[in-house]
């Protein structure tokens, strides 16, 4: 954690600095999202939150009997978004956390995911109707020309850059483990019956191990966060070409992806968050840059 000294300094300056940063980030990112219960299921256990001012996008796909899945995914997105909002008032994500040696952007994601895990786990322990509930998660935090993605389970992040559509998270699933160990090929995996088994989830154990990776973000990039209801129903090539064809209208692209999943059967809840990088968003570091940042 912070020393008291540093914390106070951060708070004193936060109003100016954060306003500068917020304005530039909100104008550098365009976000569109869409979530739908699908064709078969009666309720939506997916939960999404996004905020261009914070540069945050969180998507969770809940599991557990009756409405417990919705409770778990809702808790995950709410806890992470509200905690992140509080933290970003006093900390800058590109500064290094003295205690862990990581940028705050990483540390905050991991801390808040851990907090969400505890909340879900405790609710599941104390209330019998929530017993065994959990959720997968993918969360992206954009700051200083990078994006940090943390994920647990089989919710995914993809990137479209210069016409190239790539999956940038690797599922924590039995299927992925089978592919990694060479038991089956990626091609065979499409027809596997084990698609639904995840090896990690938020809220099922007292602690959780989120996988965190940071990527350079460039103007023109489009990032897609999605639940397995999209990538199980629509082949990656189709997702990529749809994003490219409709990149001029992000909202329409999000709706189109959900519609394609439903047209193909819509057997699961389907959620997408699209984030487009409109321009460079390097953090204003020097005093002059910071002052210029206020006027952007």
């Amino acid at each position: 954690m912070l020393t008291t000294q540093r914390e106070r300094t951060a708070v004193e300056r936060s109003s100016h600095r954060s306003s500068g940063r917020h304005i530039s980030l909100a104008s550098a990112l365009e976000i569109a999202s869409c979530t739908d219960p699908g064709v078969v299921r009666s309720h939506n256990e997916d939960s999404i939150v996004s905020d261009a001012v914070m540069g945050l996008a969180v998507l969770a796909d809940g599991m557990g009997g009756y409405n417990a899945g919705e409770v778990a995914s809702g808790m995950a997105t709410t806890v992470i978004a509200s905690e992140m909002e509080n933290s970003l008032k006093r900390l800058r994500p590109y500064d290094t956390d003295g205690a862990s040696g990581r940028p705050y952007g990483h540390q905050l994601l991991l801390d808040h995911i851990a907090k969400a895990n505890t909340s879900i786990y405790q609710a599941a322990q104390s209330q019998p109707q929530y017993s065994g509930m959990g959720t997968t998660l993918v969360a992206g935090l954009f700051y200083d020309n990078v994006v940090a993605f943390a994920h647990i389970g089989d919710s995914r992040a993809y990137r479209l850059r210069n016409g190239e559509f790539t999956q940038i998270t690797k599922d924590h699933s039995l299927l992925q483990e089978q592919i990694d160990s060479g038991m089956i090929t990626a091609e065979q995996a499409r027809f596997s019956h084990n698609k639904n088994l995840v090896t990690r989830a938020l809220g099922i154990d007292p602690t959780v191990d989120a996988e965190l990776k940071q990527y350079d973000a460039r103007p023109g990039d489009i990032y897609l966060l999605c639940s397995d209801g999209l990538n199980d129903m629509v082949p990656d090539e189709d997702i990529g070409s749809t994003l490219e064809a409709l990149s001029a209208n992000l909202k329409l692209a999000a709706q189109q992806l959900v519609q394609m999943a439903n047209d193909n059967g819509g057997r699961d809840n389907v959620s997408v968050i699209l984030v487009r990088v409109l321009r460079d968003y390097a953090a204003p570091r020097g005093l002059l840059a910071r002052m210029l940042g206020w006027f952007k």
């Binding site: 599991m63 639904n196 090896t199 629509v234 047209d263």
Partner: protein, 269 residues
């Protein structure tokens, strides 16, 4: 949610939704499903429900439990299974949605606990799913280049048919929601401008029309038919002389679309 329908001699007596993780069946009054008949043991059987799956277990009853005519000790219940206790029958009906798509149960995400699952993948019996050969997707660039080359006359709208591979058989084949009829293949023909007479078959799920940065619309091919939607640009496409809004509009045979000053006709082949 799944439910049981209790009947005797073809008469429906009661319906029990499986709301609890553990539903007990027996003659004694404390059971969730009480069947007051001497052929039924005091604690006869129990149904354990986890997510969408229900398991029936006989608790060492005197007269036993049958499922679909076979005596069982433990049984994984499937839609329409008939459980028999003496003269009573309990029909198991899985969740409505899950029953419709039998595989849906299977697809519900579940956690495979690394601890209980042992060494995870290796412990699992190696059942490589059968690998039906899929049509090989052609590279996106090749297709786009081909179309662009055909439409590079200056000042002309670019007709860019994006390559969207046909959905793989595993996802598209078994589920036609609402029994929707597969639409016929349609095409558009350019009516005005230097590209007049050019025809473009709308065989892909998504076809964009227009000039990027000026005005673009997309035609989507869906199980219900073809739809046109505005993508970008200050002006919206005109369909049969009427300006469209931001919503998707169904296309009918011989509709005339006007986009970026060019007229084209939509028709089914």
């Amino acid at each position: 949610m799944a439910k049981l329908i209790l009947s005797m001699d073809g008469l429906v007596l009661k319906e029990y939704p499986l709301t609890k993780e553990r539903t007990s069946i027996g003659r004694k009054p404390h059971n969730d499903i009480q069947i007051d008949n001497l052929a039924v043991s005091g604690e006869h059987a129990v149904i354990v429900t986890i997510l969408n799956d229900s398991f029936l277990e006989d608790l060492g009853s005197t007269n036993g439990t049958l499922v679909n005519g076979q005596p069982i000790k433990k049984h994984f219940l499937q839609n329409n299974d008939v459980i028999e206790l003496g003269k009573y029958k309990l029909k198991y009906l899985a969740e409505v949605g899950a029953a419709a798509a039998k595989t849906a149960d299977f697809e519900r995400t579940m956690v495979l606990r690394p601890k209980s699952g042992g060494a995870g993948a290796p412990a699992e019996p190696a059942v490589p799913a059968m690998s039906t050969p899929r049509p090989v997707a052609q590279p996106v660039a090749a297709q786009a280049a081909e179309v662009l080359a055909a439409a590079t006359s200056p000042g002309m709208p670019v007709l860019d048919q994006r390559k969207v591979a046909a959905p793989s058989p595993s996802v598209s084949a078994p589920v036609a929601p609402g029994g929707a009829v597969k639409p016929q293949v349609a095409a558009i023909q350019v009516l005005t401008g230097t590209n007049a007479g050019r025809e473009l078959e709308l065989s892909k799920p998504l076809t964009t029309l227009g000039k990027p940065g000026v005005q673009v619309a997309v035609i989507t091919k869906r199980p219900q038919g073809y739809f046109i939607t505005h993508v970008e640009g200050a002006s919206f496409p005109v369909l049969n002389g009427r300006t469209l809004d931001a919503q998707a509009h169904a296309l009918g045979d011989h509709d005339v679309i006007e986009l970026a000053g060019v007229k084209m006709e939509f028709y089914f082949k």
